[in-house]
Amino acid sequence: IKNSPKKLPRDFHVKAELHKTQRVVSVCQMYFLDYYCDMFDYVISRRQRTRKVLEYLNQQKTLKSLPDDRLNSEWVGYLEKEHDILRKRRLKPKNKDFE
């Protein structure tokens, strides 16, 4: 960073004023705002879902209403569902280049 040229290129302001540049800059800012809102939303929601499932399983365990292997398979089933949701997030169509 120290070695980065101190001066802006001569035609910087001309290019910065370009409609095209302004547009990609605002698209970029919106993209990040959107991305982080969505990402935190996912992380929080997922944590809440997991907490509920664990509460339920703990409750069932204390009540001894379900056999242990059933509890485990319910937990595994829940994790598989979450895994599918996560994979879909990776595959959802992303904003392409906007170029």
Partner: protein
């Protein structure tokens, strides 16, 4: 943990890590101030530190894969804003400071060659895209499996290369980024990238080459 005893219903070792460890700073606990959190510098106080943790019970490979795609998209966006300023004329070589130059190998077995920064980024992005499209590396089907050693063989390599775009932007276009008022976005993205790499020990300090100092600074913030 919440109610005293928490039974872990999953017994695989990689799943034993708790999802969220308490951090000193801000805790993301509800949706309410979400927007506010996002808007004030994301970088501050442990919000991102929590978000990179492997969710309880999740497959580590899938978590890596999602992040590879996310960082790829982020870097695409960031670099897209400076394409006007990063040309074969302004940046005839893919460098980060004068000490680091990154070469591209066009064919397996052939010696890597020096290319301009925009050319390098273009090749890199296409290479990433090819990997994402390869069902045997990044499975898209719900039943698809990741290849063995997915993290060592694919994730680490991809992150190592994606990092170089951050390095080039920081070292040679930071003034432009400042003028365009994108420094917060760049710092957030890079910090997220570093925290993720650290959490899973994906990159070595040497991989951070020209930005080692910045990485330290972001970590301590």
């Amino acid at each position: 943990r919440e109610n005293g005893v928490v039974t872990d219903f999953n017994y695989t070792p990689s799943h034993q890590k708790p999802f969220l460890q308490p951090t000193a700073g801000t805790t993301v606990s509800s949706h309410q101030d979400l927007k506010q959190i996002v808007e004030m510098t994301l970088g501050s106080e442990g919000v991102l530190n929590q978000a990179v943790k492997l969710p309880r019970g999740e497959d580590e490979n899938e978590w890596m894969a999602v992040h590879c795609v996310d960082f790829y998209n982020q870097i695409n966006m960031l670099y897209g804003t400076i394409t006007e300023f990063c040309s074969p004329q302004s940046c005839p070589r893919m460098i980060a400071t004068n000490e680091y130059e990154y070469l591209w190998s066009f064919q397996k077995g052939q010696a890597p060659v020096a290319v301009s920064a925009p050319k390098y980024v273009e090749c890199l992005m296409r290479w990433c895209q090819d990997q994402f499209d390869d069902e045997s590396v990044f499975p898209a089907k719900m039943s698809g499996q990741f290849p063995p050693k997915f993290i060592e063989r694919y994730v680490v390599q991809m992150l190592r290369r994606l990092f170089r775009v951050y390095a080039h932007i920081y070292c040679h276009h930071f003034n432009e980024v400042l003028e365009l008022n994108l420094q917060t976005v760049l710092n957030t993205s890079f910090r997220h990238f570093c925290l993720f790499s650290q959490e899973f020990e994906l990159l070595r300090p040497a991989d951070f080459g020209p930005l080692v100092e910045l990485v330290m600074e972001l970590r301590d913030r």
